[in-house]
Amino acid sequence: MSGFAKPLKIALGLIVIAGLIVIPMNFNRYGLFILSQWAVMTIAAMGLNLTLGYAGQVSLAQGAFVGIGAYAAAIMTTHGWPLPAAIVVAIALSFAVGWVLGYPALRVQHHYLAFVTLAFSTLAFLVFRNESWLTGGIYGISNIPRPHVFGIATNKPLPFYYICLSSLAIVSVAVWWLIRSPWGRAFMALRENPLRAQSLGIDTRRYTLMAFAIGSALGGVAGALYAPLTQYIDPVPFNLSLSLDLLMMVIVGGAGFYFGPFLGAMIAVLLPEWLRFTEGYYLMLYAIAVMGLLIWSPTGILGILDRTMAARRTKAASALRAVAKSRLETAQ
């Protein structure tokens, strides 16, 4: 990424943003729905990228937090609360649950942590399904209203797409700010060397819990948008496979890269849609594409950039070494 000059990067960013605002105006409802879904999934994946990519805490439960956010929003808005209030509650709730789920991370790491969060994810699904008094059980919650913003109804796909897009924008800025702050640096320290981090005064407990809680809260935000987007939720979409999908988005995009989730969500949400023309084969092709991509670049799409840069650096170092003068000779 450092290959570009700064003004060029800014210009590129502006073009993309303008494109995301203007081009969908001509889209049909399906296109807008998919694009909205992309925005929502990107938010959830950004949360996971924070927890996993930056802070190195493997979580297979992000889908459950999307579910928690979605149920919070669905239950509240169907009871007449406005969506912003529901989003605040969704954030608070998933933040709190994420904080609690962070505690196992203080005891175990890596694949063990993955297993704990995986179990949590399935448990959350069982609660969504079995506690029908609250969640409507397997029947789910239907007729979830879409909000009015500044007096404009967002029942139509385009206005609601803009809600998703602006939420994505807000989250993107917040995450960008977070990762370049000392907190972001502390998160990376957790990922790269928690032991050393501790001895440098970094309160690894608090940062670990924060990484979980903030990442989960973003999952909650995504969920709170997902509910009014589909206007009906049931437990099935929030089972383990959503968590795995989100993980796939983060890894395929490039874990620990700011733009990774954008790309990863694009592949996970859009690629299957593009492949639909192959009918019965589309999921098979999608699976093959994901495997191929990972074989090509196990560090994700953005990992390719990193690799090229590392290769360039090695080459330079190697050349430098070849011409370096021996100290023994200079001493003579």
């Binding site: 290769a311 090695t314 190697s318 070494r321 370096a324 100290r327 023994l328 001493a331």
Partner: protein, 245 residues
Amino acid sequence: MSDPILSVHNLVGGYGKMTILNGTTFSVPPATITTIIGPNGAGKSTVFKAIFGLLKLREGKINFAGRDVSNLSQRALLNAGICYVPQGRNIFPELSVRHNIELGGVAAGKDIDLPTRIEAALDLFPALRRKSAQQASTLSGGEQKQLEIARSLLLEPKLVLVDEPSIGLSPLMVQQTFDILKSLRERGVTVLMIEQNARSALEISDIGIVLELGQTRMVDKAERILNDPRIGQLFLGGAMEESAA
């Protein structure tokens, strides 16, 4: 000096795009202890990997006991009589001490009398015999190093490559390990060693090799290298020598 048992000529190689060895050349006479010294990153361990076929050579030749062994497989090298004891902890922690040693004979297949050789190896290391039924992870650091050496002796090698045997060992343990190497030399085994603890290593060595930036800077009798002021200054921590008691 008699014909060298090992000679490497103009080795060029590295990892990926990084070239570490830039024409390393030296030879080692039989039944000696030879120590390679040099700064971090000089390519010392890389030379060992190259000799032991763990690094694909871009150029160069390795001759061992009169035959070309460049880019042979590990199994072939082991059977030709070269053993390699890498840096750090190199045991199989969950297998018993005896099974660890036994694995040293894998390369020879069914051609050797394994039980006899295991017994012979255990005779050399009484501490290991006492603990032969225990899991290898229960051994102390020094005993683990002994286990590695014992294991490498199972094939009755002619040349042993030892990378930093003293790292993390107390001075007493270092002495014991060096004593073992000396006893190997007495049995006619050639030892090629890398040591950061260069001064002590050169004291027990016959030959010293100075490696820098992947090239051989100097090959000479160990004592002459020890006494070379430039070497002392650059590679043995000259400043330290003055303040040392």
